[in-house]
Symmetry: C3
Subunit: 670 residues, 3 copies
């Protein structure tokens, strides 16, 4: 993009009164330069089957044009009209919980030919309508597409076709899935049972993998249609979402983000997060790092909260901190969901910039201030580049694997462990990229690879990790990694499978810690918060050094954290779930060993430092205060200019960061 | 009624042995003068389709006649026989959870023509049978009728007919419900989706409103049939029940009590409550005040507990306290559920007066004592009149509204807030009437109107509240009031909508309090229990005085409680959920301002004072000790006679209230 | 058996690599002399309908033969192949939760003729295959057979047939079930409603009784088939399981163990239990005592844990303690589930002796040590006989009864109360037999009968209990006993019904204790842990002595524990749920009164003493240390030889029991 996109979703269709001109004026005055329209509103665009009415779309495009506001047009396909559900009820998905009813969005079978037929028709009509508007800068396919647990008989037939292609014959499938167990062996393709009733974790996980592919295929199909219409300079994007815990939390289970973005020009996402006293910036950073890493360049935040939920009403200054945190992660667009609060239906209390009274308010005023800053300093921040030395490896297969075979207690999930490691890096001010198993080709670009609970992995990937260490990288692997192959079959080699030599350890037993502590010599924090939690492996060394062992009358002879020089590199293993504080100690040692530990580590959470290189090649440093206290923080980087206050700043000078405050310094020399 | 009805439900059908004569004798000896029979026992009355056997009914009527015991006959329609479910399975309701199975009561579709056909037949046969018995004093229609979540295709068709009548055309409906959101716009009546799958709160709430109307219509239909048979002096009643939390709690969600009683001669209800150390009398008072207010006169308690659940076994003296508390609320009948404990099935441990051994016991002896008192003093207490100066406004629409759009945290419901205010008044010894939105015509009879969380209200009602204050009343409104209209559309006027001028405030933001306290100058209790909980609005004044503001670093500039002189009256606003103690402080100030604060406020919970005027025009005062401690309480009213001890009492004299004790004084002068 | 069976389940079918010979060698070296095969693997034995392949069975039998390992062959019928579900979907049970899907085991309708047809075919083919192998010593029918909640229309038709047979006509049924209540009266057999929708506890309990009979009938049917094939010396057994709380807990609700074993030659079971710091031996003892009592002789432990769940990984020494504890209860076989950990599917983390790497490990080494001991000392321990003086009475009908009419709070179940009493005896080192209602003929063999919460019992059984006391026994009965008859009808005689005279008490009221304590003179522990919990009856004495009364302002006049000399014996009644400590005090007094209190009571948990008489008529004493502390315990019995250390031991000599340690002494004189 050539300018920073600052905007909001706009739904003329939902307005209780006529106020389009007023809204455009208010947006323009607030510095908003882009709106996103049309997604979700199929029934308005096609009120009766085959009768189209794009008047809302057109009048918004025209009004936006008058105010020099760009527009991203979304296809409306993720929410079907009542007439379609009524006429073709087979479109509503059959899931593990039964047949979906009409009413919510995202309740359709995305493989349904009828759905595809009508979706294609409305997309083409919409594209025909909007293509003549010069202020349309790009398109969003559908919205937050996932597989929605579709698993009806037709989907199962597709799955059997997929299995045939994957395994060739049933005996191979029986073997890979271990179908001998409990008499599950299949004699013929037509007798493959319904995976939703199965107790075979391998089979169920493969069904999840297959269903994630449906999402990839669906987006490819939509992008193919839209691409027929777009003109030079227009982009195709999509709004990816993450594991949802009433806020953005971790890797998405129902889609393969890495594969899904291949048909897009630019990756987009939505990020929602706790705020008020619970604001940490972690979700902004995690989501941003993940989506930026998908295409290894700037990305769009297509939705984030203005006021959001009732309990997210921001304190003064927090909206500004949110905004610049997104930019600090490399966002090239920041769009609020949404302009105005809705007066009915379901997300009535997911508030927009304007409250229900549709008048300029505290939120609008704060966003206007951000808009003004954006206009002024945006050009220095657009398309930030990052060259991170550390990367974190995540995996949909391992996420699914730990759903099928949960960690003891059933409460700690894959994403909890991923976030334990990510958050530790974040709090230590170490930026990282987030890689997927498909990214092995990029491993060598990093000095440090952090691999939490990679429970399910093909041998090739494990070998690549071992090679990474052998060639000079530092590998940090946590418990359960390598345990099962890509079909969730536990490896019968010694554990940690494939990585034994690299890590210099072995184990065959593990348990749930019950009053188990860690004892060590090397970590400063050992005296506090050093319990082993959730899962622990009883590790014996075969060449590795023990950094910490279990402090327990029976398990005391086993290692909890080990370190092994391997080839030109190093490999650290963490055999249990450590506390946040202890995890940071483990990583601190590794960061020192790799030399990543540096000047940013003179600060730590709640002061967060994020960095990039702007289009002029200058280094940009964001100093973010994630606390309600004023903090005096020495400026740690090269001399430059602070953009918000427009002051020059010298290395060592004290930055006075007010509550939830920000400073952004561009170094003077490129 | 011309005598106080003291009785029990009697089920000859359930007896394991013949003991009708014995039971009648025991009841007569205990002072029981009325029994309720026949409800629930359709299968006994019509063992085979079309073959009737009223022998149980007749023999009980005859035996009761011999012992001078009156009888209320219930229609048996709320529990259908197996043959009917077997022969017309469509009678079993389809609900949100699927098709009901036969087995429980209240599982039928009350709109089913087949059900209506067979119900009418048994009602007519029963009426023909009982009309010749002179001791039948009245009839109960069905029992605890609700809509039972009926929502099958036939009910949905009725709902569409209702929608057509309400809105005229689909576009009007689309507009009122905000159906543009998530592509829910309906193109034609035949495509109206199943409301049970909908995410549109307005649409779902309207379905609830419609289903509550089904209850009203059902009772009207039954009363029409019964009324064909009744003779002069006989009454028609119905047993209303309340929100159930394993005991009576609040406003009933599945019926409109105000409308349902229109076809009745006298309102009846059941009230069950915690007892032992958890006995407070609150449910007795709340249920009584509500049902008394429905027809603005005395009411029947058709069921209450003798022993009840295992954990309700009363302490000595508590049954007596229960009984006179009902009378103190204006009950003209008090009937236990039930005479004998049942030996099978489901409510086996919902015990009656007699335990399973069917012998006189501690409970029977205590009830006999009450019966003797009733016979003696009942004439002084029958048909008590109340002239309350305060009223509390409740609303089924707001109850439904806060189910669709719950308060943050999801645990605090509409009835919790209603009870917060009601209980505060109760503990302050301020009696009140309970009004529904239909009662606006009565507003001017009161000096104080308390309006908690009136989330959904038509403009007319809000205007009536404003007028009430303007004309000299004192309005107390709590958070969320006025926020949405009668279709659950959030008003886009400034909030509190319609009431802004009256209250002298405005707000557009709100949040969930997180460590927020209230700071004020006016309330004595401010130092303790002054947290804001669940929900808080960020109120700015426009003329009102701030009585309390939030004590919080970011929300400190907003008001929490305000007071505004408006016209000839006053309006107090409470912008958050306050603690019980703080709520009492808020109300205390208001009561002082209105002059309601008076002599009864010299006592407070656990001493509860309730008042009325008897048929001779004399004031009656109940002094109730809701504690297990003896309390010495000065007598605060005019000189008179204490009925239980038959002693004269003078103002200022000390009443020694034993644990769970009672004194009832009739003033000497009318 | 003529030798102690020490073994494991072996699944060649599940192996990821060829290692049969290696496994047999390792097992032989570990002292394993028996394996259990073939159960669960129908789809391997009959991969295509009608095409049989017993190669896995045969090769294991042959290999085992080469290593002198005996084999128990299980019929594979508890897990059906996909082709069968596909071809005869009616085999999948319809339960209260709907139609089962294929995928898990134990999801079939065990009454289905199609299932029976195919099950019989595979059993016969398997029997034909294995009958020529001399190392086959016996057969296991099916596995953990239960009714699996089968309740489809066909099962309900069978149930109606059962009801006809039980009651003769509908009126009798209406009367026994109390069907008058809520209009449930049935006019004709064809209108009997679906019991799964019923609220009638009697009717539902009868359905449970009927469904437990289906299990008995199913096992009889299978044993009939297998018995056609077995040769002299071969046995038929079955693997009974218990109430499951992620470990073995109590009486099984879905089968009648007493009846189910009648078609077996020897009773078998599986027992799983907590370990690590939570190891107490209680489940080993309870399960063993119950199964031993079924046929009143030695039994098989067909499955127990090697490593088991992740949180069961044993500490050093615990596997040995497990093993000898089973033997101390009279087990004649001890078999681990299972030899190797499985690499896929569902029980992937229910680990076997070998971990997933299939290599000898810590567990294997500990088991090898046990195996060596077994070989050496097994002959002294085989077929231990017990002559217990105390017995505990349990009842499936009461278990079901307390499910239909739960104790207040809903958390304390029948088995919790049973275990409260069993565990108290266990901790006091009093061994007991566990009797069922069918065992009344054996009552007189005991001096003490403990009867907890016998909620549902026929008059005959209650009379037998009364007779037991009258003739000189000591009866201990706990609350709720005798309350309802065999049809779950509450008795309308005075309570405790039938037992009033024997116990010398009466009550008709009961409640849930709320801050109620026990006060007494006779029990030493009274000062501590003397609260009444869950349920309390308000007992008045009619001849009995009060041992403890309630300490409460209102319930203080009622008795909590009473004692009554009756005929030649005694009867103790406990009217509430007492704490574990108080329960032990109550039993201690009884044990002293009966004279059972003796030398073993000089030790107490965590030192557990279990006794038996071996085949040479010598007394054997097990001293088990259920703690992680070393304990010095005097040897309390006659001089003899300690088997593990091969040392002679004299009465009074100190045994030094290491953490989780064991000593086994055989007395020198028979």
């Amino acid at each position: 993009m050539d300018r920073f996109l600052f905007g909001a979703a706009y739904y003329d269709e939902y307005m209780p009164v006529e106020r389009l001109e007023e809204d455009m004026r208010l947006m323009r005055e607030a510095g908003i330069n882009v709106i996103r329209i049309a997604e979700s509103t199929w029934a308005t665009q096609e009120p009766v089957s085959g009768e189209f009415d794009f008047s809302h779309v057109e009048r918004v495009l025209e009004a936006a044009g008058r105010y020099d506001i760009s527009v991203i047009v979304g296809t409306p396909t993720y929410a079907i009209p009542p007439w379609l559900a009524s006429q073709n009820p087979e479109i509503l998905a059959v899931t593990e919980r039964g047949k979906e009813k009409y009413g919510a969005r995202q309740n359709m079978d995305i493989t349904s030919p009828a759905y595809r037929y009508y979706a294609e028709r409305i997309i083409r009509k919409l594209m025909e309508c909007v293509q003549r508007y010069s202020n349309v800068i790009g398109f969003q396919l559908d919205n937050e597409t996932k597989h929605y647990h579709t698993s009806g008989p037709n989907v199962q037939r597709l799955f059997v076709r997929y299995l045939k292609k994957t395994f060739g014959d049933v005996e191979e499938m029986n073997r890979e899935f271990g179908f001998s167990y409990w008499s599950n062996r299949v004699d013929a393709w037509e007798n493959v049972p319904d995976p939703t009733g199965s107790i075979n974790g391998s089979f169920r996980a493969e069904f999840e993998k297959f269903r994630r592919q449906l999402v990839t295929e669906f987006l490819e199909w939509q992008s193919g249609i839209v691409r027929e219409y777009i003109r030079q300079g227009q982009f195709i994007t999509h709004n990816l979402d993450f594991e949802w815990r009433n806020y953005t939390y971790g890797v998405q289970a129902e889609a393969d983000h890495k594969k899904a973005v291949q048909c897009l020009d630019i990756a987009g996402c939505d990020i929602y997060h706790l705020t008020q006293s619970k604001l940490t910036g972690k979700e902004i950073a995690f989501g941003g790092d993940l989506v930026r890493s998908l295409k290894r360049r700037s990305y769009f935040v297509l939705e984030t909260q203005a006021q959001g939920h009732v309990n997210w009403t921001p304190y003064d200054g927090q909206l500004r901190l949110h905004a610049f945190s997104h930019i600090a992660s490399g966002a090239a667009a920041l769009m609020y969901w949404h302009w105005h609060s809705i007066h009915n239906s379901f997300e009535t209390y997911w508030k927009g910039i304007l409250s229900h009274d549709l008048k300029p308010n505290r939120i609008y005023r704060e966003i206007s201030g951000i808009g003004a800053d954006m206009a002024r300093i945006g050009p220095s921040l657009i398309n930030l580049k990052k060259k991170n030395r550390a990367a974190l490896l995540v995996s949909n297969e391992s996420l699914t694997g730990l759903r099928e075979f949960p960690l003891p207690g059933g409460e700690t999930t894959y994403n909890d462990v991923v976030r334990r490691y990510y958050d530790a890096l974040y709090e230590l001010n170490v930026e990282c990229d987030i890689l997927f198993p498909e990214d092995a080709e990029y491993f060598e670009q990093y000095e440090l690879l952090v691999v939490p609970v990679l429970y399910s992995a093909p041998t090739k990937l494990l070998t690549a990790l071992s090679d990474f260490a052998e060639r000079g990288g530092h590998l940090v692997a946590a418990f359960r990694s390598g345990f099962a192959n890509e079909f969730l079959t536990v490896r019968h080699e010694g554990q940690p499978a494939v990585l034994q030599k690299c890590l210099g350890i072995r184990y065959d037993e593990f348990t749930q810690p019950d009053d188990v502590w860690l004892a060590d010599q090397v970590y400063a924090a050992a005296a506090k918060e050093c319990s082993a939690t959730v899962f622990m492996e009883l590790v014996e060394t075969e060449g590795a050094d023990v950094l910490a062992h279990y402090d327990h009358p029976f398990w005391g002879r086993y290692a909890a954290v080990t370190e092994h020089a391997f080839g030109k590199g190093m490999a650290t293993y963490v055999a249990c779930l450590t506390t946040p504080a202890y995890t940071k100690e483990i990583l601190k040692r590794v960061l020192e060993q790799t030399g990543i530990w540096g000047i940013e580590q003179q600060a730590a959470f709640p002061v967060i430092i994020r960095n990039g290189v702007n289009e002029t090649g200058r280094k940009v440093h964001f100093y973010l205060n994630y606390s309600e206290k004023e903090i005096r923080q020495p400026y740690l980087h090269g001399d430059g200019k602070e953009l918000l206050k427009e002051e020059s700043v010298k290395n060592g000078q004290t930055l006075v960061l007010e509550a939830w405050g920000i400073r952004i310094v561009v170094e003077s020399e490129a």
